[in-house]
Amino acid sequence: MSEEILKALMQLFAIIAKQDVGLSTNERGYVKSFLRQQLDEASVKEYLALFDSYIGDEKKQDEKKDKPKLTSVKDSVKTLGISKKINKTLEQKQKIVVIARLFELINSDKQFSPQRMAIIDTVSEVFNISKEEYENIKSFVCEDDFEKIDIPDILFVRGEEFENENAKNIVMPEFKGVIAVLRVQSVNLFFVRYSSEKELLLNGLPINEKNIYIFARGSVIRQAKGKPLFYSDVVSKFLSDDKFINIHFKVEDVDFTFPNGHVGLRNINIEESSGKMLAVMGASGSGKTTLLNVMSGVINPKSGNVYVNGMNLHENSEFVKGIIGYIPQDDLLIEELTVFENLFFSTKLVYRDLSDKEITEKVNKVLHNLGLFHRKNLKVGNPLNKEISGGQRKRLNIGLELIREPAILFVDEPTSGLSSSDSENVMELLRELTARGKLVFVVIHQPSSEIFKMFDNVIILDDGGYQIYEGNPVEAVTYFKEMDNQINSHVGECPSCGNVTPETIFKIIESKIVDEYGQPTDSRKVSPCEWSDLFNKKEKSEKSEIEYDKLPEPSKKPNWLNQLKIFFKRDLLSKVSNKQYMLLNLLEAPLLGFLLAFIIKYIEDPTSDTYIFRNNDNIMPYVFMCTIVALFLGLIVSAEEIFKDRKILKKESFLNLSRSSYLFSKIGILFILSAIQATLFIFIGNYILGVKGMYFEYWLVFFSLMAFANVLGLNISSAFNSAITIYIIIPFLIIPQMVLTGAMFSFDKINRGVGGGGEKVPVIAEFMPSRWAFESLVVNQYKNNKYYKDFYNKRALESALYYKNVYYLPELKSYVENSIQHINNDADNSSFKENLKLIKNEVKKENNSEFSRAHSYKFDYLEKLTIENYDREVANELLSYLDGIHKFYSDNFNRVYDIIDNKIRERTRTPEKQSEYQKLKNDYHNRYLASFVKNEMNPLPLVRIDNNLVQKSDPIYRNSKPSGYLNFRSHFLTPEKHFMGSFHNTFVFNVIVLWVFTIIFYVFLYYNLFSKAVIFIENATPIISKRAINFKNYIRSIFVKK
């Protein structure tokens, strides 16, 4: 109690005491004993003197006026003044206490005069105390027969059953007398008074029958013999108005083995029911967290079962998970959000029917409970960059679960790293939950005596996952002392201070055998296995069959779309509030775009300063770089997304939220970011390089590729368990894509083992989104630019005719001429045989080619093109056929050539037209890109592959022959792709393929296939992992020796 309150109280006491009859000895006695409770002897004197001086002052004034019978106006004014003054400095709780003390003062002498009451009335009015509570306090303090008070806010503790209409009752066997507890609901404060022959101890201090005491959080009332009365017992009785579901939690013969073969848990049996807080203790590595994970359903046991109200937890996890809460050791907070926002979003995810306003109210209430209300607008920050303290973080973590009110709560090391007062604070918070019917399991390491005693039961595990104790914490000490044959083993706690030292337990459990020199050896006196046997032999109370309550339906969570909205908003808010992140992401793309484009803005003519798009050799490399940049940006922005959230995801897995809505929110935000980045990059890059009229197409491809990379990044971020691994993986994903884009290394000139030099794009490159993106952009840039699109179709025809004319037919003819020499000579000659097959193949193709409908030549002796039937006559027929079509191709080539030439001439007829044409060409057509898409670097216009002649020149002008209804494979840089019976624009088709990739990877992500694969591979390599462990041990041994 602060000095200020004490002074104020003294004043108020003085005012009241000197009314009517004046100060009585009883009253002064009360003040004295009251002060004694609060202060040391020296201060008591000081304050008593103060009180006396106040009384003296008052008396003098009163004597002068000689109107002792009535409450003077002056007194009223004075009371008002003091009350108002205190009003500003005291919390509501303290004000209630002040009122109670005032009543107590009057009660000490039973002088309930109207004047005195009037003063208290005034005070309570100023303090804003409700009439009802005022009356309650008054009757609780002043009534001698307090046992007869029968209001809902009072609770009686008696030795035997007792019936009351409104008041609550607790039966405490062997207790003689009555304890009454009054609840002041508005501030959640409890007063206690009692009447009994026996002495009672409140928190270790004896209490006076006459006085009332505050029954603070965590308090305990003890009698000499028998069970103590805990704060939680009282609270739970008051709260039992609300219907709680009785939870019965049973762990039956649970074993757990780690994937590497280590045994984590052996034969664990636990049976508990709601309203209790249990500690799980044990040396480090004894399996505490594992046990918690098994009990909460996060991991499945190897054998044995966990039942919640008779329902198997691991088999009905969907259903049961809804009532389970899990608070891991690590933070689950979103660092970029404020304390309030953290709670707000998790609340929104839990409650479907509440409006934002209701949720805000709920959150504020919890924040009050957590004592975090005044911090609600602080950013959580990370542990290194603290904005709120460690204890506050922990409380907020607990708050995240509290708000959901799970029936069973698992907490992993809530006190680690906290100061002792923070620890107690946190534990009290958990203890209070049991009052509301929750079952709380807490893994705890080296608890203080205070904390240790808060638990109803402890479960102790020993090395290797042995369960060596379950039961009352204080009894645990006596049990192990007994087992260790120690003296005074029946004493659990320090008789004088009531302290329990849990360390003793572990000292006993782990005590070592001492050798003849008095040195402790490595081996333990009692092995974990023996402890476990001892425990199993211990008599256990038979648990009777229990009728289970039906488990509540999991709370109605928000629907898919609302979840999406919440996730989205939460993620967006946390991103936007991270200034570095936003700034970097928004600047990265335009800066890269600028850098890239500026560097490669090449002017060919050394004497000129005018940039000409047509003569910039770097446009194709620019397109290539676009794909790489898109991949990089897309991957990097997403690679840590899910990884970062994995702790929160673990927690939220208990909420049974939709994974797809979570993923959609992630993807949504990433896509928006990517779209912005793509816009900035392409706008700046294309603008600087003068890539005109293609902004949308570049943007679309860039964005599509980024979108793919986003989803790919999400996949790896959900598959790997450290940031380093993720960033090691990125080159593995990017470099093959760079190599197999088709830009750096021609598909004609790569290893034949991976499909190089084939007719079509190597199969492996079909799986490279970068390739699809690059191809679509390059093809589109070449054929659909403003300059070329008018010419493209005719140019394509010209190209086809030229190829037939200049390369193909002469080559075919030479095969035929060559074959004539072999007729009748060497029928066995295998190359002749093969050549004949080639001729047959090609003639067949020619007969059916798209040109065949334009001419009347046809070769009718296809079936004679076999080694048996081939003769000179057939050969001559063939040659004349070839001559015929050659003529056709040649004529039509000239025709098409002239058409194109005339068109150009038409467009360059006048000097103005000429310069206009020239400008168009300079601005839209790129020479080097043209040479690339026409494959001019490849000296061979056609090659023989098996028994086919395959054109290599001008890939941009020709389509691949369809080879199946659904087969879309074709050569690189084809203008159109065949799929489902018709040809489709490569640009559109490739973009669609990119999105198909994205969707496929989304499905992978949804089903977590990557992470399953990683786990599978890890498990499938026991030999390697064993080696690795051996190696690790070896390395360790080297360092240890040194």
Partner: protein
């Protein structure tokens, strides 16, 4: 949930369809095929193929002129070469073919004078033009590289260029594209004359050079004969008319034939007839200047 999925799906599909329709351009390609015809188009020429080959072959290889100039110690002048960047101006087949000849001559000329660094870009130009004219297969890198490597061996260069040129000519005629061959030959010839007549200071033995210029009178006649075949085309007609003006200058050149009886001679066991007739070309500074003016006019029109 399912409803949401299906809505998303519908939006996606709808988006794709819209996007596809707006970007797709599948059908035009088929239309292009309608141009094709099964009937031959043939250039109407008064000459037999072989005659044309002969006439085009009469155009001297530019190597000869360049070698003559170089051996006569005529100084090389880069300004006489067609600037590389001019290639951007050539869009029509007509211009491209003429300038292929021009750049070809430049290439050869620079080669003879060992200007190998600058040659590279002329090489590119020749190749690009040939590629555009769809005769790129006669200008493959291999041949062109051999050309630049063997610049010191004049005979070899002469052989390769003559052979490639003949091959190309034959091919073009065979393919009914003799107009192209004629244009390339004209470009080559005009550039050759241009270089020869624009020598800044003629050396001591300018007579040989003058004589060589005068001899071109015959070649011009052949060229004009060939070009006249295509005068239906306005561009050809213009060129023809320009050449007419040049012809007027050349007409001032007088070539005297001094007839001598041919003699028979045995070479490698075979009897060969050797023409002993000679000709004398009468040409003076003024005529050369006249020719030069006209050639400059025509050439600068071509390279514009």
């Amino acid at each position: 949930m399912k409803k949401v999925y299906s809505i998303v799906l519908i939006i996606l599909i709808g988006g794709f369809v819209l996007f596809y329709n707006s970007c797709s351009s599948g059908k035009e390609r088929d239309d292009a095929f309608d141009i094709l015809e099964d009937t031959a188009i043939s250039e109407e020429m008064e000459f037999e193929d072989e005659e044309i080959v002969g006439m085009i072959s009469s155009v001297p290889n530019p190597v000869e002129m360049s070698v003559l100039l170089q051996r006569s110690d005529v100084v090389f002048s880069q300004e006489l070469m067609n600037p590389v960047n001019n290639i951007d101006n050539y869009n029509s087949g007509f211009k491209k073919a003429l300038n292929l000849g021009v750049y070809g001559t430049n290439l050869v000329h620079m080669n003879i004078y060992d200007r190998s660094v600058a040659t590279v870009r002329y090489l590119q130009n020749v190749r690009n033009l040939a590629e555009d004219l769809r005769i790129g297969h006669f200008f493959d890198y291999e041949t062109l590289n051999r050309l630049s490597e063997q610049s010191r061996n004049v005979d070899s260069v002469l052989y390769i260029t003559n052979r490639s040129f003949d091959e190309m000519t034959r091919y073009l005629i065979e393919e009914n594209r003799s107009s192209l061959a004629v244009l390339i030959a004209s470009g080559t010839w005009i550039e050759s004359i241009y270089i020869a007549t624009n020598v800044e200071t003629f050396p001591e033995n300018k007579e040989i050079i003058y004589e060589r210029i005068g001899e071109q009178k015959v070649v011009l006649d052949n060229l004009m004969l060939l070009i006249s075949n295509f005068r239906d085309d306005q561009q050809f007609d213009e060129l023809f008319l320009d050449l007419m003006k040049l012809k007027k200058e050349f007409d001032k050149v007088n070539i005297e034939y001094i007839h001598k009886d041919p003699i028979m001679k045995e070479v490698d066991g075979r009897i060969v007839v050797v023409d002993k007739s000679t000709s004398k070309v009468n040409i003076d500074d003024e005529i050369v200047r006249g020719i030069s003016d006209k050639v400059n006019y025509i050439r600068n029109k071509i390279i514009q």
